[in-house]
Structures are given as structure tokens and as C-alpha cells.
């Protein structure tokens, strides 16, 4: 099994620890991972802003880097969704089809391809799960509150097995945090209000650490938490699953 690691542009530049945790975790799970060095971005920032055409170069660069892997794994539901859903703007060569078919968000890959639930992590904290929208309603990484059906969640499947961590239920289980890419800037007032409300829900429910499949949501929430000096931390799920923090009594 040949696995290519895709580290989204902003994680690469601003949150390298998330990339490192992802790589170390996959290696610990005995996956042979390669990180292609010419990768940049999936193209989402331009496309979601209405400039799909400007993202073609990024799409092609992505395909070039990842066309020869059995699986592409990334610590981002949003980027994986973008490749799957919106790479219809470039010619559908076998390489493009492969890439769209083989890209997986990290938790999805661990639960459904590796078929592992206990990754051997220890993380003795009260955790609030932020179910990032593109992963949830795009990739269906879990059931959402709107749809009637069986309840499931890949991120929670993994977290439940993490020693010491306790998943805290929220009042609004899967409401958007308000990041939304350029929305965070163009609709600043609403974006900030959504983030504040989201943080309050976590605080009201005794959460110590907010986690998610996407660092972009967490960057927005962290920005607010830091500005307002709130007693919360954000960590990508890869960082928790790669944690070996000793349990304190």
C-alpha cells in the first residue's frame, strides 16, 4: 500500500505540528507514507471565493504530485472534499480520477481503510469535538443532526479509544464555526459571532480542548480564544491521536 501524505498549505506554513503528528501517527500504525515535496494547495481558497478558474494550476499541481499513490491521506476533511467534489473543472484523465477516488481524510482512512479504532494514544482531558462541515456533510465522516438515520462518527470512534480522554457533549452538536475560508473576512461580523457562540457552547459544557478534523476551523476558534483570553485549547485530532501524555490522577 503506497500512501501519499497531503499537508494542506496553511498547515504546512502555520501549523507544522499537525503535519508532524499526522505523519508520526501513520508511521506508528505501520503505514508506509511518502510526502511528495512539490505539493502546495488543493485549490479550495480560490474556488470557494468564486475563482475556480484561477485554481486550475493548483489542481494540476496536486494531481501531478499524487497521481501514483494507492491512497492520499490528509489531515483535512475540507481539502479532501474539495478534491473529490470540485476537481471536475480539469480534464478527467485517469490520474485525475485516481486522485479524486483515493483521497481520504485522516480519521476516515484509519477507521475505514486501516480498520483500526484504538491507535494507542493517551490524552487525559475533556475534549469537545467540532465536527467540521465539509468533512461532516461533504464527506459524511459522521451522521449530522439534519438527516434521519443511524448515528455514527469516525472522529469519535477514534477518540473513544483514547486513554483518559472524555468526549463532552455539546448543545449544538454540529453547527458551523463560521470560518468558511474568505467568508471569515468578507462576512467578518457574522463569522466572529458564529465563532464566539461555538466557543461558548464548548465552555458551557466543560470542554478543555476543542478538536476537529480541520485546522482551519480551529485557527478561527483559536484566534478568538487567544484574543479573549479564554481557558480553552485547540488541537487537531492528529495531535491527540499521536499523544502519549501520562494520565494524571
Amino acid at each position: 500500500m503506497k500512501v501519499g501524505l497531503f499537508i494542506p498549505c496553511y498547515i504546512n506554513q502555520l501549523y507544522p505540528q499537525v503535519g508532524i503528528a499526522t505523519l508520526e501517527l501513520l508511521e506508528r500504525l505501520k503505514v508506509e507514507v511518502v510526502y511528495p515535496s512539490g505539493q502546495t494547495c488543493c485549490g479550495q481558497p480560490m474556488a470557494n471565493s468564486g475563482y475556480e478558474n484561477e485554481s486550475e494550476g493548483a489542481c494540476k499541481n496536486f494531481v501531478e504530485n499524487f497521481k501514483n499513490f494507492d491512497y492520499i491521506v490528509t489531515p483535512s476533511g475540507s481539502c479532501a472534499y474539495h478534491v473529490k467534489k470540485h476537481y471536475d473543472i480539469i480534464e478527467q484523465t485517469p490520474s485525475v480520477k485516481n486522485v479524486r477516488n483515493n483521497i481520504y481524510e485522516l480519521c476516515d482512512f484509519i477507521v475505514n481503510i486501516l480498520k483500526i479504532k484504538n491507535v494507542g494514544a493517551t490524552f487525559p482531558f475533556k475534549v469537545g469535538v467540532h465536527k467540521s462541515c465539509h468533512g461532516l456533510r461533504g464527506l459524511r465522516l459522521g451522521s449530522c443532526s439534519e438527516i434521519v438515520g443511524d448515528s455514527y462518527s469516525y472522529i469519535e470512534n477514534l477518540l473513544q479509544e483514547v486513554k483518559g480522554s472524555q468526549i463532552m457533549p455539546l448543545s449544538r452538536a454540529d453547527e458551523c464555526c463560521g470560518f468558511g475560508g474568505t467568508f471569515a473576512v468578507t462576512e467578518e461580523a457574522v463569522s466572529v459571532k458564529m465563532g464566539k457562540d461555538k466557543i461558548k457552547d464548548h465552555l458551557d459544557n466543560g470542554v478543555e480542548v476543542i478538536t476537529a478534523t480541520d485546522t482551519s476551523c480551529l485557527m478561527h476558534l483559536e484566534g478568538l480564544i487567544n484574543r479573549n483570553n479564554q481557558p480553552l485549547k485547540v488541537m487537531h485530532i492528529a495531535e491527540i491521536l499521536n499523544s502519549q501524555i501520562a494520565e494524571t490522577i
Partner: protein, 456 residues
Amino acid sequence: MSHPKLASIFNKDEQKVNWHDKALWFVRHKRDLSVHQVKGWETLRELGHNIKAHTLSNLDNYLVEFETNALKNGIQVHWAANAKEHNTIVHQILEEHGAKKVVKSKSMLTEECHLNPYLEDRGIEVIDTDLGERIVQLAKEPPSHIVLPAIHKNRHEVDKLFQEHLHTKPCDGDPQYLTQEARKHLREKFINADAAITGVNFAIAETGGFVVCTNEGNADMGTHLAPIHIACMGFEKLIPKQEHLGVFLRLLARSATGQPITTYSSHFKRPMNGNKMHIVIVDNGRAEQLGRPDFRKSLHCIRCGACMNTCPIYRRSGGHSYDATIPGPIGSILSPGKDLTKHSSLPFASTLCGSCSDVCPVKIDIHSQLYKWRQIITKETKQPFVKKKSMVFMGKLFSKPKQFERIGKIGRWALRSLPQSMINAKPNVWGKSRDLPKGPKQSFDEWYRNRMKKSQ
């Protein structure tokens, strides 16, 4: 004004945003409790979707079938290509009968056509009889929600408004008193009305009849008392058969308010003896929307308002921030089809979270259509210079890995080294209320390269 501007004005009063959000979330939550009790809810949605898709693809035949059967029933059928024709037709009918006083039950179509001011200008009194609609009519405002038109007003505001217009006593916003007074006021209007106008929720081709859903019974009060009933419908309200009603009536009220069914589902088929019944079938841009492959599904909409209740942006920006007849997510995919420039900010008033598509009872892919409108808007309307240039710049940057690395390095240095006051100053909109992350010394790329070197 654009959506972001109006939304930021709405957000100046955080308490108001909080109760607006909570009131609508309460409705969304009621919807959840209700639909999760229905076995086969997802199958119902699928059925609703397919019936609508089928009807829209065979609309020519079904419209003719409906007209034929309605005429047989003694209903007079009128066709209006646009809002102006619709208003003219309605006015002519009223004029022919010398009708001066009109009661109207909820109809988003007549809002869309601006019927009220048209009739008022011609000396006709039009009274909206749905309580919420009456409230906004008295306040001289458009509805801010299609099911809950006055959701942006709290009971104290209604108290003041009624004191002013209905001469009620101050009551500290007592809802029971206010409702009773509204009831008295409206009773008089019902009794004296010369004509009743209603919307149409579903028109049935097979029978030539139609159904109007209300919770207040105001459509029945109006139409049973007045000698003339004019029903106005957009052509997408058509369904082929009577048996399809069961699907939509089950979907509609649960999605709208969490009720199993609206209090009144009134079936109209023929006029009462001596009375007149008219139906005005309106296009007003619908045929054009039907001709847009990416957006035709927006015509599936049954106007339940669930996408508004679920939308985290709608709840925190208010219906008026959309400056369109139909606000919220569904309005944001309908309105650009009518006036792309005026409504160009609406498809961007979304994080593309997808909740609207998942809550929609007829499975309209609302968030995908928002994405598609964005692609059109950036091409066909004027865009801010900075936005356009930065997108072109980013597009180029991300297609050249070496350049990406170089720029990333500079960016990280700036975030790490420059003082916060400088980083968060204008024009960094992000920094107004949020910190930016500290720029790390090493990117993942650099860390990975070092690691490879060490292992060699």
C-alpha cells in the same frame, strides 16, 4: 446595501442577535424532534424531490391539464408572464366587481410582485391577515422570514406597534392580550371584505384544485366570507396527482415548524354558489431559472423555511440583511437569477456548511448552487480590485511550489516578528476580533527535509 454591511449593522446589537438565533434554533430543533420520529423520512424527501423534478420536466403538459380541470370546476384561470401582468390581472378582477376591501392570507408570490402597493395606489385596501404578516404590514416592513414574517420583532415591539395602530393598551408585551386584539381587529376586516386573496401551496393537475396551508385559519376566514377568491401561484407549485399531496403535506409542516401537519390544510376545488374563484398562474422569471441546468432544482422549493431556521448565518444576520423577497439560503440561489448585480453578495453569505441542503425536505442542493453562483458572479459582475488580484496571485503561487515556499517563509517571519499592533491593524479584517497564529520558524516542508537528511 450588500449582505455583509447589513449583517454587520444587525450584529451591533448582540442581545438581539442572540434571541433571534435562539428563536430560530428552537424551531429547527422542533423540526429535528418531529422528523426523527417519522419512519422513512429520508424516503419521503427523496419522493418529494423526484415528484418535483418530474413535474418541472413535464410542466407544459401538467399546466394544461391543470387549466383544463380547473376550468371544468368553474375556476377562472389567468396567466401572467411577470409581476406587472400579475398585478394588472388581480386589479382588473377586483375592479370588475367593484371590490375595494381585500383580505389577503400569506403569499410570498404577491410579496415578490409587490401587489400590496400596486393595489393601494389604486385605492384598494389590502389587509394581510396572517398575524406575522399583519405585524410587518403595520410596521411598513417586508417579511424577514417566509414562514415567520415578524420573527425579527419581539413582543415588546409588537406591543408598541399595536398601541400605535390598533390603539391597544400598554400590556408589557403580553402575547395573549396582543393576539386577542389582533383577532378582534382582523375579524372586522374579514367580515367587511369584498375579496380574498390567497397564495397556493400545492395545485393539483389531476383535479384542477389547490391547497392552501395555514396555522391561523385566516385563508379560510377570508375565502369563506368574501364573494371573490383570487389565488396567486408561481407555476412551480404544481404537482401531478392528488395522491402526491400526502408526501408534501407530511414534509411541509414538519420541516417548517416541527408540526405533523399545519392546523389548516384547506382544499379548494370550485367556487361556492354565486361566488367567483380565480387563479393567477405566474412565471416572473421562473421559466428562465428552469432553463438553467445548474439552478433549476431551486424551483423544487415548497417554501417551508427550514433552510432559514438552520442557517447559522441567517440566524445571526436577520432576514432583512438579504434585501430580497425570499431571504436565507434558498433566497440566495433564487435571487441572483432575477438580478445578478443587486444580489451578488448573497451566494457569498454562506460558509457552504451544507446544513441547508441536508435539512431541505425536497433535497435541493442549495450549498452546491451557492458555489456555482459564486463562479458566475465573479465573471459577470464587477469585483473588488483587491479580491480579484489576490485570487490571481494565489492561483499562480499555488501552481509553483518553489515560489509558495519562499512566500510562506516571508509570511511566517512577519507573523513571528512584527508587533501584534501592526499585524492586527487595518486592513487586516481578520485581526479585528481574532488573533492570527504565531508564525512557526519551520514549515512542515522544512521539518520533513531535515528529517530525511538526518535519516540518510
